[in-house]
């Protein structure tokens, strides 16, 4: 019996050790001064980037660019809703960089001291647009058409960033949308449109670009009233601050600009 106990404990200890080893890997000898230089090979180790779900395609591409430019660095990506990511970082998740889909969630981290107050840089904007199923069965031509209860419109709930933007737009235009559903994420809104359940859904321009042929977009000229700004910042206390800074620089630089624009994001 004692032998079995020992074996269990030993296995547990091994697990713990290997876990610690993984965390302790980044060495401290990377020079912070090399941060903004794209060609410096002095960067090594790994960084973990927490990014809003809407950045999945663009940041996956940018991470590859970054790793190509800095062969010594591995970039781990984690995508989720901005508020989920904020919760995770607050609870101690090991993030080196945080890219939020709105300023409110970034503010939560600066308020908590987890991101330096001056650190966040706006790197992209996104505006709402109307996504309709192919063929536009509800014949939606303009934002005002969504006020018609016959047009089954799905929007984001006011609690999430895209919903807040929707509410701002409704106030600015005086159009009230009798939504059939208020989803908790853009993905869910888009899902209802691609499946044809909804005649229209309010999503971001980038979502329509990413969805390809699954949906059609109907531009909203009034959308400029509710521009969503994406800030990015290194997380305070990062184990690899130099690489984190370099990644932020890549995203806010010209490489980032090109990739983001191609995906439909606007310039800040």
């Amino acid at each position: 019996m004692r032998r079995a106990t020992t074996a269990v404990l030993a296995a547990a200890a091994l697990l713990l050790l290997s876990g610690c080893a993984g965390q302790a890997a980044p060495s401290g000898d990377a020079a912070p001064s090399a941060a903004s230089s794209g060609t410096a090979d002095s960067l090594e180790g790994s960084i973990t980037v927490f990014a809003a779900a809407s950045l999945k395609a663009t940041f996956t591409e940018l991470a590859q660019e970054f790793e190509a430019a800095h062969p010594g660095v591995t970039v781990e990506l984690s995508f989720a809703g901005s508020s989920d990511l904020v919760t995770q970082i607050t609870e101690g998740a090991p993030a080196d960089v945080f890219a939020s889909a709105d300023e409110k969630n970034m503010a939560k981290l600066t308020d908590a001291g987890l991101v330096d107050a001056g650190a966040p840089v706006d790197f992209a904007t996104n505006v709402l647009t109307i996504a309709v199923p192919p063929g536009n069965p509800g014949t939606v031509e303009a934002f005002a058409d969504l006020a018609d209860p016959a047009v089954r419109t799905v929007i984001c709930a006011a609690q999430v960033p895209c919903g807040a933007a929707t509410a701002t737009l409704e106030t600015a235009t005086g159009v009230t949308i009798p939504a059939v559903s208020e989803e908790s994420s853009v993905t869910d809104v888009l899902g209802k449109v691609t499946s044809g359940e909804a005649d229209a859904g309010l999503v971001y321009v980038t979502d329509v670009v990413a969805a390809g042929d699954a949906v059609e977009g109907v531009d909203i000229p009034e959308a400029a009233e509710a521009v969503n700004t994406y800030p990015i910042a290194p997380v305070a206390g990062s184990q690899n601050e130099a690489a984190a800074q370099a990644f932020v620089a890549l995203v806010t630089g010209s490489t980032g600009r090109d990739v983001l624009t191609a995906a439909g994001f606007g310039a800040p």
Binding site: T5, G81, S83, R152, Q159, S181, E182, E183, S184, K192
Partner: protein
């Protein structure tokens, strides 16, 4: 000697078991510690919370009724008849138990959705299921039905057909036997199965989110409300979670008590 029976559980088994129990219980304790007790009552009695709670109770009760209505005949057919392909059918019917709910939601969408297998027909008659409370009930019934079928089928097999045979030879028609013999015999399992179905329906999230949408008072059940509140008001989310935990504890207790067979097989008592 009375009362002292040989246990024979190695100490390390007890230690690991205690770890396992702590693993299950600790998160609940952690959640309790986060509850904002000062604001607890206002948080769970806000308009949106009450709407969600009311909707959840209404839809879950309806789903449970549907589960009983559909599940009892299903369990009887599975337990009492033999036909070609039965084993396969049985596994398929119980699939929602192991299926991720979101997959269930997608499947329901392609069935009852606007462009779905049946939904197209419904749409032609002006019946729209998506984004309605009906959709919530369908999603809940879909995921909860196997619980009822499974517990009832097991009970039917355990009880066996001997009492039913006696009933028949006393002149009772099959329907009378079902009503007066079979169902009373498996009543405890039926109750516990229904309670479990209710609990599963109450906790249903994925399929509802995918298939029914989320609108206050119409399709936004308690789990969806918690998920949404978490975005902006973690205190409200925790408070509502606690409400669900309490309901779950009550449900488990009721199911456990109802599941104990009361006075079956008296013929074996004294020989």
């Amino acid at each position: 000697m009375a009362g002292s029976t040989y246990g024979g559980v190695p100490r390390w088994v007890a230690v690991v078991a205690a770890l396992g129990a702590a693993f299950v219980l600790l998160p609940l304790v952690a959640m309790l510690l986060r509850v904002n007790w000062a604001e607890f009552v206002p948080l769970i009695t806000s308009e949106s919370s009450l709407d969600a709670l009311g909707l959840s109770l209404r839809t879950s009760l309806t789903s449970t009724a549907l589960c009983v209505l559909l599940g009892v005949p299903m369990a009887i057919v599975l337990a009492r008849t033999r036909f070609w392909g039965q084993k396969v059918l049985r596994s398929l019917v119980l699939l929602p138990l192991v299926l991720p709910p979101v997959v269930g939601g997608i499947a329901l969408l392609y069935t009852f959705g606007r462009r779905g297998l049946l939904g197209q027909g419904f749409e032609a008659f002006g019946v729209t299921i998506a984004f309605s409370t009906t959709a919530v009930v369908l999603a809940q019934t879909f995921v909860a039905l196997p619980f009822l079928v499974l517990s009832l089928e097991g009970a039917l097999r355990t009880v066996g057909t001997r009492y039913e045979a006696v009933g028949a030879t006393l002149g009772a028609r099959p329907t009378t036997v079902l009503r007066r013999v079979t169902l009373p015999l498996v009543l405890p399992a039926l109750v516990s199965g229904a309670v479990l179905s209710f609990a599963r329906a109450l906790g249903e999230f994925g399929a509802t989110l995918t298939f029914a949408g989320s609108l206050q008072g119409v399709t936004r059940t308690l789990p969806l409300e918690i998920y949404l509140q978490r975005e902006t008001d973690p205190d409200a989310a925790v408070a509502l979670s606690l409400v669900l935990v309490v309901v779950a504890v009550v449900v488990v207790a009721v199911a456990h008590r109802a599941g104990e067979p009361a006075g079956l097989r008296p013929g074996r008592r004294a020989r």
